[in-house]
Amino acid sequence: MKGSLLALVIGAAAIAVLGTSYALSQFAFVATWAIAGLGLSLILGQAGQISLGHGAFLGIGAYVEGALAVAGWPAWASFPLAVLVAAAAGWVAALPGRRLGGMAFAMSTLAIALLVEEALVRWEGLTRGAAGLAIPPLQLFGQTVSGPLGQFVVSALLLLVAYGCCRRWVGSRLGRAWRAVRDDEVAAAAVGIDCGALRSLAFVLGAGMAGLAGALYAHWLAYLSPEQFGLQLSFELLMLVFIGGVGRLSGAIWGAAVFVALPQLIALATDLLPARWAAASGTETMAFGVLIVLIILLRPGGIAGGRRQGRREAG
């Protein structure tokens, strides 16, 4: 409750200080990234698995939605399909590691992510390959969603839906089973939990959410190229969840805010620096790094983390 109030205050302040369209545009990206973060948070925080290739599922969602939107599909049909395809890819990616978990899981997701990026370059008929794919604005209920306000409203609503789903899952039998597998696989198996299937399920759901985020991203960006969905994005998403706080779902939202909005704030702040410093190329990167290090040192459990019970590693 306190968190959401804080978020509201920050949001209002941002609109007042930054101006409407700039602030809303940021919120739209924060919400979109938070959806992807939520998915990864299920995999990491609940099922206790590391995915090194989450950017790839975002890419799959983005390209499916992009290709369908270009082909003139309505959003109510293309969005679910984008989510489904990404979820299916998640299932495939979870296959090699589902039995073992841990490192094998991380490795296979890494390999899949690299292959997906390659496939996006090669499947030129669908993705236009390296030349990139221009995406028309989102059409929803006969309206064109192209301005920051519309983008924000759509992303925020979908984030609410995604958040609601995640809360239900986490609070249900499923969530308890995930945590049981995470904390002690042998004990979980002993009480009849199918660890492999549960891991796969976490991955399917997590990848599906990344797909949803990707579908939104495709429209907000209006242009897709395979290089946007490389390992770097996967690592960024991973960091996003960690910094927000792995144990809590709201961590994904905080993490997204850090990764999307913080660089913008830094850019605003560097404008105030003396010209000599502001002109140096790496200032913003360096400041972002410093802030990340500070956040981690001050809140090792993530921004939303607070006091969190330590998570034991498999092996």
Binding site: L18, G19, T20, S21, Y22, S25, Q26, F29, V121, G129, A130, A131, G132, A134, F141, Q143, S146, G147, P148, L149, G150, V153, Y217, W220, L221, A222, Y223, S225, E227, Q228, V260, P263, Q264, A267, L268, A279, S281, G282, E284, T285
Partner: protein
């Protein structure tokens, strides 16, 4: 929901409308423009000199009193080559800074993601550093491009090379992205005119370090002429690999490999490499008086040597200023576009091309010229190939 969205949308439109009464970014004594560069990402090596060149030209103009009494202010944003950051930067520049135009944005993903927003807001999108056709075609009153497309000048350059030297088997080494694809189209079109096709084409991923397999393939195909759609580092890598094997085939690199760094880093092995130059490199030795003076000013100001990218940045700002001059004291987007569409420049002291714009054609230049590395520097060996 729908009603709410449209209501809020209407409010926003109202806001925008009230702001648009005066020309955004233009006041009695100031014109604000923006550029989105990569200063910290994978092509920061281009972004920094481009920015420096632009800022230098603007400051020069300001020292002389500005354009029609208005000082020029440029807001530089760093995208780090991340289109998401670039989109946010664009919104900021449009709203907070209220800039008049966007100038020389760098990188295709960045340009393609931000251009619709910029043009949608009614601001001119000028001279981006991206080979994508959409930056000038289909014709849009707000889009202008300065840089010759790879397709056009590579087609001309390959034809010229093949005609002069009678090559029979042409091969291509290309970077596996939009840049490489544009060059490939150009080379294939040029060869088709001469009734030839590429006998071998082989790609590499950006960031590749080793070109042994690609060179081996081109050699095995018996190429007598190899076109390189590479950037500096890969140009050096590929040419060195071929020379190491004793394969002294003629090679031609695009303007992206036409850089003093190519021979500085590659040394002796680069001798004899052909390249296409759209904008000549500013060599201090043998420079005309104005160029020499310009190089000196750049050096003292930035404590670095100017390169071809600094010249391009300078040029972008220069053509923009000419457009502003043409638009007169009564500056609006419409008067600026009208002035741009009637703008023709002559060759400048860098030896760069002349630019022509018209109401039907917003691409200023289509031509490049051939150059060759001789004695450790690029020597121009032809005029602009029309």
């Amino acid at each position: 929901m729908k009603r709410l969205v449209s209501l809020l949308g209407a409010c926003l439109a109202l806001f925008a409308g009230s702001a648009a009464a005066a020309t955004p970014g233009v006041t009695a004594d100031q014109i604000r423009v923006a550029t989105i560069q990569d200063l910290s990402g994978p092509i920061a090596i281009l972004g920094a000199p481009i920015r420096d060149g632009m800022v230098m030209r603007f400051d020069e103009e300001n020292e002389r009193g500005g354009v029609h009494g208005r000082k020029l202010r440029i807001a530089v944003e760093d995208s780090g080559y991340d289109p998401k950051k670039a989109v946010l930067a664009t919104r900021k520049l449009l709203q907070r800074d209220g800039v008049f135009a966007f100038l020389g944005d760098l990188g295709t993903p960045v340009v393609m993601a931000t251009m619709p927003i910029i043009v949608g807001a009614g601001r001119p999108h000028l001279f981006p550093f991206s080979p994508h056709e959409a930056t000038y075609q289909p014709l849009d009153p707000l889009k202008f491009q300065l840089f010759a497309p790879y397709q056009d000048y590579m087609s001309a350059a390959v034809q010229e090379m093949v005609r002069n030297n009678g090559y029979k088997r042409v091969g291509l080494l290309y970077q596996d992205d939009d840049y490489g694809l544009e060059v490939m189209k150009g080379v294939e079109a040029g060869l088709a005119r001469l009734g030839q096709t590429l006998v071998e084409k082989t790609g590499y991923k950006r960031g590749a370090t080793d070109f042994a397999s690609q060179i081996a393939r081109l050699r095995a195909a018996g190429c007598d002429f190899v076109v390189l759609a590479t950037v500096v580092r890969e140009t050096v890598g590929a040419v060195s690999e071929a020379r190491k094997l004793g394969w002294n085939v003629d090679m031609l690199v695009t303007a992206s490999g036409y850089s003093a760094q190519t021979h500085e880093l590659g040394g002796k092995a680069m001798e004899g490499l052909y390249g296409v130059s759209v904008m000549p490199h500013p060599y201090p030795a043998g420079a005309n008086e104005r160029l020499g003076e310009w190089i000196e000013r750049y050096r003292t100001r930035y404590d670095a040597e100017p390169n071809v990218w600094s010249v391009m940045g300078y040029n972008v700002a220069d053509v923009f200023i000419r457009g502003l001059r043409g638009a007169g004291r009564d500056l609006t987007v419409a008067s600026f576009v009208h002035a741009m569409e009637n703008l023709s420049t002559t060759r400048d002291f860098f030896g760069g091309p002349a630019y022509h714009f018209s109401a039907q054609d917003h691409l200023g230049n289509r031509h490049g010229r051939l150059a060759r590395i001789e004695g450790g520097k690029w020597v121009l060996i032809s005029d602009y190939l029309k």
